[in-house]
């Protein structure tokens, strides 16, 4: 949202918007290509190509929407397209969706992401909500049942949420979970079904480090987001008495399990850091990240949805203008206020873990696959 921030002291960054977006695009494409390679080798080249087709559909829709917008605003089409960076939204949106999504669903979702999520608010820089998250929410609301059945197996997030209620407490329970998804290794390397771009945790972290070093994204947001999730789930593990696994204590492997399952690393690196929809002040960003982490964990553990990252991003985007106006002003003078806000958010995050630990019952025994009545329904609803 276009909020004019009157801060001092000022320090101008060496990067231009074009440069930042170019680096971001490269980082995204690296993850995307790695994912296409995985799907091609694991399921066949036609499945890998499906990802490329989805991306192509999304890009075409983006450019068409922006061209129409340019014509309506009587600006040059080329100008609008190159300064709108719509392709970043497209790539992120495609990476958030599972491989089974139909091209029609991607087209409609991209249309809503670009036209409603960004252009209706005035174009690049004026939007309140992360456009890719808007598009993904549209798919979640309308197209959960629309699949092409290319990849038919349950996702790790789905299994963890459905069969284990996010709390496998004993070694036996964890073993039965890891057996079904292929072990910690495959969770780290992304060789599991899931959203197209979110499973390869290690690569996304590396790309994140690269982007931070280049000055493209602020290190605070991913660090505090993932760190807070770690702390909350660590507290949860300690409070509910999660048992060690092969010697690794429960309060280490359980938070790591939370981090590598689902889309939190992807969300923390690429989506929360969107400069338009995140606060500008450093303290604001820390507050933003901690609150988003609290909401993510709360939705995951207590909500009906298996994954909470998407809605936590959208909810915190609503609060960005409020955070901006609260921290507007000479930065050195409002330091106390900033620290107070961050402390409040930390307390909120800890409250989430206390609340969750008191109301959750863990799964102690091994859990087998539930009986299947109808043909296996690809768990589309469960990704982000």
């Amino acid at each position: 949202m276009k909020y004019t921030f009157h801060v001092s002291p000022n320090l101008q960054s060496k990067n231009s918007t074009q440069q930042i977006m170019r680096d971001l695009t490269i980082g995204l494409l690296v993850v995307f290509v790695a994912s296409v390679i995985y799907y091609s080798t694991a399921f066949g080249i036609n499945v890998g190509l499906q990802a490329v087709i989805l991306l192509a559909c999304s890009l075409v829709t983006t450019f068409v929407c922006e061209a129409v917008f340019a014509k309506l605003k009587k600006k040059s089409v080329k100008d609008v397209i190159t300064h709108s960076f719509g392709w970043v939204t497209s790539i992120i949106l495609v990476m958030m969706c599972p491989m089974n999504i139909t091209p029609y669903a991607i087209i409609i979702a991209t249309f809503f992401a670009i036209a409603v999520g960004r252009l209706m608010f005035g174009g690049f820089g004026y939007n309140i909500f992360n456009p890719a998250a808007v598009g993904r929410a549209v798919i979640f609301a309308s197209f959960s049942g629309a699949t092409t059945r290319l990849v038919t197996s349950a996702t790790p997030t789905g299994i963890l949420a459905g069969s284990f209620k996010w709390l496998p407490m004993t070694e036996v329970a964890l073993e039965s979970y890891l057996d079904r998804v292929g072990g910690f290794g495959s969770l780290f390397l992304g060789t599991t079904p899931g959203a197209i771009g979110e499973t390869f945790s290690i690569l996304i972290l590396l790309v994140g480090v690269f982007l931070v070093l280049r000055g493209v994204i602020d290190w605070r947001i991913p660090t505090f987001y993932l760190g807070t999730i770690f702390v909350i789930t660590c507290a949860l593990a300690l409070l509910t008495g999660v048992q060690p696994y092969h010697g690794i204590p429960g309060w280490i492997w359980y938070p790591v399990l939370h981090l590598i399952t689902g889309g939190v690393i992807f969300g923390g690196v690429f989506m929360l850091t969107d400069p338009v929809t995140a606060p500008t002040s450093p303290a604001g960003r820390i507050f933003f990240a901690i609150c988003a982490a609290a909401i993510t964990v709360l939705i995951r553990l207590k909500g009906n949805l298996p994954e909470g990252c998407l809605y936590s991003i959208l909810i915190m985007n609503c609060f960005t203008p409020m955070i901006e106006s609260a921290l507007d002003g000479p930065q050195l003078e409002i330091k106390k206020k900033a620290w107070f806000m961050i402390a409040c958010s930390a307390v909120l995050a800890l409250c989430v873990s206390f609340y969750a630990s008191s109301t959750m019952k863990g799964v102690k025994g091994p859990v087998k696959k539930t009986a299947q009545v109808v043909e296996v329904v690809p768990c589309v609803e469960e990704v982000l």
Binding site: G145, A154, G162, Q372, V373
Partner: protein
Amino acid sequence: MNKSSPAYLALFLAITAGIAGGALYSANALTAPVIKANAEKAEKASLLEMYPDASIDDFVVVDAEDIIADHPSVQGVYKYGDDIVIFKNAVSGYDGGTVFLVAINATDDTIDSFKAISNGDTKGIGSKITENAFAESLAGKQASGELDTISGATLTSTPVVEAINECATIAPTVE
């Protein structure tokens, strides 16, 4: 009488309310019997869908106030023939939940028939409970035994299966 005095205002309001009440009374007298007949027809219509060959008088509505008090998911109980007790249940699910009819044979505890009337969950996933595959999988099984849920739609199908188990315990007590 002073037009602004409380007495006049109160009187005016009372007369207005009286006239309104009279109009409502006559409208009610006109429509109440029709509404009652509609409600009965609607209740029995879904029963006919389960047993299309039966006639509407084969079903007997059972006074189920006690049952509903003890088992809140049960909405209605009907008897069909000598053995079959039909339960209408409403359970919660992922989003809207499911309303369904299950016919249990009270003598040998088998499920005679199942019909989902409505489902408010995700189209294509939870809504699979309304499809034939699920109903066919239940027919003939033991109503108090282990019944299959729908993989991928456990939040929708588990409450349904649990409610059927619950009805199996009530069925023998219905006379």
